[in-house]
C-alpha cells in the first residue's frame, strides 16, 4: 500500500444549537466512516484523546449523538511554542434512516477510535393475504 495519509485539518463543529454547553472548550467534528452491512450499520469515528469513560452516546428517536470529552489540561513545566492542531471536545449527530434495534447497539473505544455497531431491527414479516375465490 503506497497511498499517503492526507493532511486533513480538524474541523470545528458548526453547531447551530441555541443551547450552549457549559464547558467552554472548542468542539470538533470527528471524521467518520459509516458502512452499511446486511444486518447492521457500523460507524467508526476518530476521537483522539477520548476513552471509554469520556464518551457519551445517545440515540433518541432517530438522532444518534456522539459526544467525547477530552482532557484539556496542558503540561505545566513546558510552554506551547508551535501548534498545528487544536484541542477540544468532539461532537456530532446523525439522523439514522431505517429502524435500528436500540437495545443491541454495541460501542467500543480503542486508541482514540470509537466503533459503533448498530444492528438493524428485524424486518416485520410480510403478511400475505390470500384471496379466496368468491362463491
Amino acid at each position: 500500500m503506497t497511498e499517503k495519509a492526507k493532511n486533513l485539518p480538524k474541523k470545528e463543529s458548526e453547531s447551530t444549537d441555541v443551547v450552549e454547553k457549559t464547558r467552554s472548550a472548542r468542539i470538533y467534528k470527528p471524521n467518520v466512516d459509516i458502512v452499511e452491512r446486511d444486518g447492521d450499520i457500523v460507524l467508526t469515528a476518530d476521537m483522539p484523546g477520548v476513552d471509554e469513560k469520556s464518551v457519551d452516546i445517545n440515540l433518541e428517536k432517530n438522532i444518534l449523538s456522539i459526544y467525547g470529552k477530552v482532557d484539556l489540561s496542558t503540561p505545566d513545566d513546558v510552554r506551547l511554542v508551535y501548534s498545528e492542531y487544536g484541542i477540544g471536545d468532539y461532537q456530532r449527530s446523525f439522523t439514522l434512516s431505517g429502524e435500528i434495534d436500540k437495545d443491541k447497539i454495541k460501542a467500543t473505544l480503542k486508541n482514540g477510535v470509537l466503533k459503533l455497531i448498530l444492528p438493524k431491527a428485524e424486518p416485520l414479516k410480510a403478511k400475505k393475504i390470500t384471496v379466496e375465490a368468491g362463491e
Binding site: 500500500m1 513546558v78 492542531y85
Partner: protein, 148 residues
C-alpha cells in the same frame, strides 16, 4: 499568526520558532512534488518546550503503538507510520468515508540537539507524546559572578 512568547503571553507576528517549523513543512511540500518519500505535513503536531526539553504531541487515532517509528538525528525528529483502511467486505455500502489512512512521514526540526538515548515516547488514547531531552552539552551554563 499567533504564538506564545517566553513569558507565556499570546503574541502575533513573526516568530522564529514558527518560521523554522514552517520552513520545514514548506521544504517537505516542495520536495513532495518530486519525491514520494517527502512528508505531506501529516500528522499535525504541537510542540511544547522549556530550556531542558521539548514535548511533541500528535494525534494518531487507531494506530497500534508498535506501528509507529520514531527516529532522531541531531536536531531532527522523524515520525513514521501507517494506518490501514478497514477491510471492505462484499455487500456493504459506504455512507461516509472521511477517515484518513495510508502512510505518513513527519519531519520536525527541534530548537536544540536532542539526547536521543533518553527520548521517551508514550501512546495513550490515540495521542502520541514524545519527550525529547536537550543534549547535556547544549544546555545553557550558569555563570556566577564573583565579587572581588
Amino acid at each position: 499568526m499567533f504564538w506564545m512568547d517566553r513569558f507565556g503571553t499570546l503574541r502575533t507576528g513573526l516568530n522564529p520558532w514558527i518560521d523554522t517549523f514552517y520552513m520545514q513543512d514548506r521544504m517537505d511540500n516542495l520536495l513532495s512534488r518530486f519525491s514520494t518519500a517527502a512528508s505531506q505535513g501529516f500528522p499535525s503536531v504541537n510542540v511544547w518546550t522549556n530550556e531542558e526539553k521539548a514535548l511533541v504531541t500528535t494525534e494518531l487515532p487507531g494506530i497500534e503503538p508498535d506501528a509507529i517509528e520514531i527516529s532522531i538525528v541531531g536536531k531532527t525528529l522523524t515520525i513514521r507510520g501507517s494506518r490501514d483502511p478497514e477491510k471492505v467486505e462484499d455487500n456493504v455500502s459506504y455512507h461516509r468515508r472521511e477517515r484518513w489512512y495510508g502512510k505518513f512521514t513527519k519531519t520536525l526540526e527541534m530548537p536544540f540537539p536532542v539526547n536521543s538515548a533518553k527520548v521517551d515516547a508514550k501512546f495513550n488514547r490515540g495521542i502520541l507524546s514524545i519527550m525529547l531531552p536537550r543534549l547535556e552539552a547544549d544546555k545553557p551554563k550558569k555563570i556566577s559572578v564573583k565579587v572581588e
